[in-house]
Symmetry: C2
Subunit: 601 residues, 2 copies
Amino acid sequence: MSTPQASSLQAEVDRLRLQVESLQVKDGSEPIAIGNYLLARLEQLKVTKMFGLPGDFNLGFLDLVEDHPTIDWVGNCNELNAAYAADGYARVKEHSIGVVLTTFGVGELSAINGIAGAFSEMVPVLHIAGVPSTTQQKTKPMLHHTLGDGRQVILYDAYIKAAENFSISQAIITDKNTAASEIDRVLTDCITRARPVYLTLPTNLVYEKISSERLKIPLSRLPPPNDPDVEAFVIDEIAKLVEEAADDVIILVDACAIRHDVRSEVNELITKTGFPVYSAPMGKTAVSENYQRYGGIYVGSISHPDIKEKVESAKLILSIGCLKSDFNTGNFTYSIPTSRTIEFHSDNTKVQYAAFPGIGMKELLPLVTARLHACSAVARAVPVPDFTAVIPQEDNNVISQAWFWPRVGRFFQPKDVIVAETGTSSFGILDIPLPEKSVFVSQILWGSIGWTVGSTLGAAFAARDMGLNRTILFVGDGSLQLTVQELSVMLKHGLRPIIFVLNNSGYTIEASRFLHGKERKYNDISNWNWTGLLGVLGGTDVSKSYTVTTKDELSALLDTQSFADAGKIQLVEVMMPKFDAPRALVQQAELSGKTNAYVAI
Amino acid sequence: MSTPQASSLQAEVDRLRLQVESLQVKDGSEPIAIGNYLLARLEQLKVTKMFGLPGDFNLGFLDLVEDHPTIDWVGNCNELNAAYAADGYARVKEHSIGVVLTTFGVGELSAINGIAGAFSEMVPVLHIAGVPSTTQQKTKPMLHHTLGDGRQVILYDAYIKAAENFSISQAIITDKNTAASEIDRVLTDCITRARPVYLTLPTNLVYEKISSERLKIPLSRLPPPNDPDVEAFVIDEIAKLVEEAADDVIILVDACAIRHDVRSEVNELITKTGFPVYSAPMGKTAVSENYQRYGGIYVGSISHPDIKEKVESAKLILSIGCLKSDFNTGNFTYSIPTSRTIEFHSDNTKVQYAAFPGIGMKELLPLVTARLHACSAVARAVPVPDFTAVIPQEDNNVISQAWFWPRVGRFFQPKDVIVAETGTSSFGILDIPLPEKSVFVSQILWGSIGWTVGSTLGAAFAARDMGLNRTILFVGDGSLQLTVQELSVMLKHGLRPIIFVLNNSGYTIEASRFLHGKERKYNDISNWNWTGLLGVLGGTDVSKSYTVTTKDELSALLDTQSFADAGKIQLVEVMMPKFDAPRALVQQAELSGKTNAYVAI
């Protein structure tokens, strides 16, 4: 394995070469259509699936996608679901990106909430919009999908303006001479900054030929190198604080450890040093939840008391990739003073109150590990609470929230991908240790209900690519209704997720009933025949559906080998009481309720 | 009936009174919560339904909606569908508006394509977003549904910036003192300019009490009065041209005649003058299609030859509310020189090449009618083609497009609301005369597939309010998959639309297969069990579903009294050949294909 410095320098060399390449006019190199240039880059990024819908301004490009040997067209039911799928794919398929293709105006706007979610939660997604030809963009006829009005003013750029709010860079391809460098620029931003980028592809440029020379140089996914002097200073500062803390140090892992690709660096750090490690909700499964020095989930005042005490009393906290949103912090109730915190981020480091911009964790963490290695003996003496989930003994057969989550916890296997909808599911699963090499997928910051259904589609494709195990979804009946059609795309492609539909008659679980309006009709939803659903969506032979109403029924099902083997797509409707909710959600709702309080009438 | 001038002056008086009111500080008037002030205004605008989803930043307002005596909460399955429903409601419920309520970020962005469609097609829709409290808007904590990043920069205004592209005015309510005038301002824009407006309602202001004094003055829906001198000049010019044309004049009615509320003025004009009248696709049913001087649909080179000849050879064309988009004009193939055209718009008039800004048709048309009244005898001599649809005799039992549309044409009844999805349905129905007082609903300019499903929900509610007859939807299997869950909302509310699902295995009908990629897999979709769908969505007892595969089966069904009576929600899966399409769509596709041509590989 090369050292961080060498890899980083290689990345810099590649970047500079690309820059030189774009300044030189290359003749004689193999020409390639712009559409195929883009696909070649995506193939290099190990993209195997493209999500989206056909529309009249992307059909030419779609021909190229359909003919591509390693990238498959998925074909979603609608664009929002497609964006969700691209997001789920990118989360599970590390070192790759999610790609969604839509058409001009109607398609791209339908996808925008999905893209905004990826922006918010730092997920690398490329949004390609097929747009009218460059000629039409100049003459601006009142085409369908435009915002035409009686005065012939047509806002062709309205969609770009909208996209700018929810992507970190945009490439508006209008010139074949800059197309390749523009494509490379946004893709590099996407992979190094882990956020969505937006690219428009006009109908008349898809087949325009350009030089393929640049493709020989791979895009760099490494961030710019840290300044060695500053880095050395930061390491000294960290070592000093660790020494002062007499090794009473804990590590807190969060979302950006996953998003910015430092799982293995974090793993090195925790195993070499032996410091106790905890995770924020959005960092769940960033480190193994079976690791003996792992203490569970810290989420401010909502944490289990033992975890809360251990984290907040530590003399020093190494916080890796933190993302302090309301639901990720127990409504901002961290009790950790800045003076006891070191924050590692993708592009900066904070040591107590001192900020070190430009010092990113990808390079820094291995150096910190090397330096702190020696202190492991003392560190290993710091006790860590056991992270286990006990199935409670209840004297009835009702499937309570308190019973359900530990029980399904026993059902999980190593390498499962576990997708949890915002609300009941994401809160309920927090307290459950997930198995070795499992992947937890949830949208805790953006919290768009229905997201998991599209996301599960993408996650299941990625799981197949990554050699992972089953994909298991937990979703409420209310949430599933938002995006339900995407189940048919799973069926079409022979995916075999297990879908637990928590049926508690409404948006109870999706936060709102517990936040407000417990008895209000607006939180009720209509009851569907959930077990008939997969059959209607095209899956009579390749699916199986169940309803369970008691603990015994659910347990029996979970213990059935053929069910656990997941040979077909399976849907389990779990009947649960309307006004029950997981511990953590109830506490979160109480905290949110205070800040959201409406003045009484 | 008051004269146009008197009504217009009254509107001006009301507007000025409101302005005075907002400048005066009123004490002692009945206080009202801001949320209820908004609802009171909506009630005055005859709004009876509010579409949308609950979310934690709109729950306080939702309590007020649920408690309101005349405005019902619909509760959609997702926000895009809710926006589509608000759009459909506004189209059918003349003199009212559509209202959609979403939550901050996730909800409002999911709705944005629906709002953009209403913007494009000029439909008055109010989008209310429930947002965090004004305090949170200032301190900007990283709440869920925000675009938080590791550096704590939170783009609370990103959603407003996005909304600005797709609404004509925005009211960002942050101050109780200006809340009422802000609400009135955007609602006035909405009703006078017939386009979407956007309003944010922070949690902490919903119950804040303000003066209710302004509510005594109704909002004015009339545009500002025309300048009498200019108006008189314009009328003289028009009269002169009509005289020169020796009454060889035709009238062409388009979308804005409906959107800007001049149906009755147009009706006066055509019946008093006797000029032949034609309609553009987006103006279909603006005037009665059974009127003896109505000649059918003019759509440039795609028109029936007889209609094309009659329209294009007329010496003068009075064009009312035209909207010259590609699909509305046979891909811009109008053959009508400007020198023979007078264009009437909501806020301007064009006489040949001369523009008269500020001269709106609402006031102008009655004066033109009064002036041209005398020429009717000569005008009535100009022949008008018969607008009829003949059911072709075919020597097979396959349900062809050529046979289907005239056949269902016989099924329609007066006052039916007929909703046609973009593509096969909207093109197929063009040639079919619709009955007296029927309402044609289609999204010809924006063309977002799946739109009709949400739109039908809203249209069906509006039809009930307006004392109309059945609501009948024509939608392709591909389009229905985008928005299918909204059928369950129809079931929940006991609506009874008749839904024809044109099953031809893919996006054939939705333009793209005929535009490009005839044999491509990306135009295939998976086949659902359509007749099982309504049962699964909660409608076992209150729905009925059918599959028809032959002409005889369909005819028999259409002739069944219980089917025609529409006592339940009914879904008819119509099996049609994959590569068949209506005449007009094939021609449109050929024209689009030329401009969209991809360079060959």
